[in-house]
Symmetry: C2
Subunit: 342 residues, 2 copies
């Protein structure tokens, strides 16, 4: 049966998104709000989002940047080991998750966790567990760059065992080891980015070096990409789409020291449609991967949005307001035809 | 015993060097000629050096760029499978080696070899063997970027077995697998770069992405670097220093698609002295690594040059005529005090 020329996606969700702040926020937030119903918004601002005022104010700035487009920014706090029950109880209605970064592992993560001693993390994690606040984790050790995520899997497993009621989301997984961990612990979930479904380290550094494909975790080996593709295309019930779309100005990427992050938000749905078509994967799996799984796992009800994609080329621009997207100046096989809000 | 504050190096040789052509050649050749007595000059110009006129003319341009400084450019031809005995006999006095590139594996290698069928390569390799012309090889397959060199080792072994009288130099080796191959075949030799003795993929992509440390073969794992360090510091008799110093303009490195190559020629001896001091390795090993082994393996007698290094800081400049060197704006612990030619 030929793949359909028209794809309807209901309420797409991006469960891992960097919107930054200030001018960059105003420039890029509308791009996500245009095609997505909602997104888990990462808290790694400078300084990171660690209190109610910072979170509420950031949400207001996002809503202001987005304007009238229906779009739910699902807010997160930057993990601290000593958030107490009183604080988190008060925060519960304002946030959707708490994001844990190992210290210094990626952009603006200097204030992250430097030890994964379970007892040191217990106050916050027990309160989160009781309040049913999901924990999102950037799971990398400080080991060799190709090994960091696989080395972190035992930490995921210790967390999953120590806090069996806690929903733990392994963010932007990139390895077969993380995929395998999904099925070993009931309370482990994962997000997968667009770029890690498309690229390996070969695309970053196998020919010319491609700074716009450089991210953390770095793209891994072919067998890792295959493992990610398998669970994304089958819409494994514990896997959600999270773009990890992270805008950096072109001049910060094409520089002496290039910041980590791939910008995919405005072309993510088109490229996902292309990917599922290429692999002849069922359309209901795409719907589950980009929305339904996330709704169920997070228990969210985003604003209604129907995105209609058709089989005609998207010419990806060279940049969006100074930020170079993935597939810049390339052509994708699906385009957004219509977006019906509400 | 404290490490000496003064190091004398006689006739340093760079057994793998890219001098390019035109304006770039004029800019950078004097930097190598200043501190080195001679260098094996790579033939991957556009078009590559494949005949006598191209080689002789290129040598003249190099000598012109270098001026009066005593410096031997040891010329190489770009490998073709069908060079015949008559041609190579005529060329013998003009060249020091022939460089084999797999097609498309690095900068300006499009005309390289696309099949390693021994019989297809036999005409040239038999003539080289009879004429005692060393074969220099960029040993990478077209596999996954971290695996390419290790995957090439069986090809090195087939070549070494099929042409036991041929001197085969595994160029710029980066893996423990290549190091191990050295001792399995009498006629396998190797060059090692400065940068592969200092960096792993972590330095290229473990923090910010560092385009000026991006090269082919790409820097590998910590255990690979350890294996290279071992044979360099002990001055394994089959190992020679070859910088693979490869200048690209700053704007070509800090760009959308960054070319492969690390520029080290002007700071190589200072950084090697620092490395040997850091590891408390015998000075006679440094002398063997940067000159004596190469003289013996290639049977060359370069012009006399005594380089005196002392224990005082070298402040590495941000660039050399638009080319960013390794260690740019950093400090090395040894400096060149004096160079005595002749």
């Amino acid at each position: 049966m030929p793949y359909p020329d028209k794809i309807l996606l209901n309420d797409p969700l991006d469960m891992h998104l960097h919107l930054r702040d200030g001018e960059m926020l105003r420039r890029i937030a509308p791009l996500s709000a245009h095609t997505f119903s909602g997104a888990i918004v990462m808290p790694n601002l400078v300084p990171p989002v660690t209190d109610k005022k910072a979170l509420v104010d950031y949400k207001a700035r996002i809503e202001d940047a987005v304007g009238n487009t229906p779009f739910s920014p699902y807010m997160t706090l930057f993990f601290k080991p000593d958030y107490d029950m009183a604080f988190l109880s008060e925060m519960r209605e304002h946030l959707s998750a708490i994001k844990l970064y190992p210290a210094g592992i990626t952009t603006n993560s200097e204030g992250g966790v430097s030890s994964f001693d379970i007892d040191a993390l217990r106050p916050t994690l027990e309160a989160m567990s009781a309040l049913e606040i999901p924990l999102c984790v950037h799971g990398e050790t400080d080991g060799f760059v190709m090994d960091r995520e696989a080395q972190f899997v035992p930490i995921y497993e210790r967390l999953a065992e120590a806090f069996p009621e806690l929903t733990i989301v392994m963010e932007h997984i990139t390895t077969k080891e993380s995929v395998a961990a999904l099925d070993r612990y009931e309370n482990l979930y994962a997000t997968i980015t667009l770029h890690h479904l498309y690229i390996t380290l070969d695309d970053v550094a196998g020919g010319l070096l491609r700074p716009h494909l450089f991210c953390k975790p770095i793209a891994k080996r072919p067998e890792d990409k295959e493992a990610l593709l398998r669970v994304a295309l089958e819409a494994h019930p514990k896997v959600m789409f999270g773009s990890d779309s992270a805008p950096h100005p072109k001049e910060a990427k094409e520089s002496y020291g290039c910041a980590a992050g791939v910008f995919t938000a405005p072309i993510a749905l088109q490229a996902l449609a292309q990917l599922f078509e290429t692999h002849d994967a069922p359309l209901e799996n795409l719907q589950a991967f980009v929305s339904d799984n996330a709704k169920r796992i997070y228990g969210v009800t985003p604003p209604k949005k129907e995105v209609v994609l058709t089989k005609r080329p998207t010419e990806v621009p060279a940049e969006y307001g100074g930020v170079v997207p993935m597939f810049a100046e390339e052509r994708l096989t699906f385009a957004i035809e219509e977006i019906i809000d509400g």
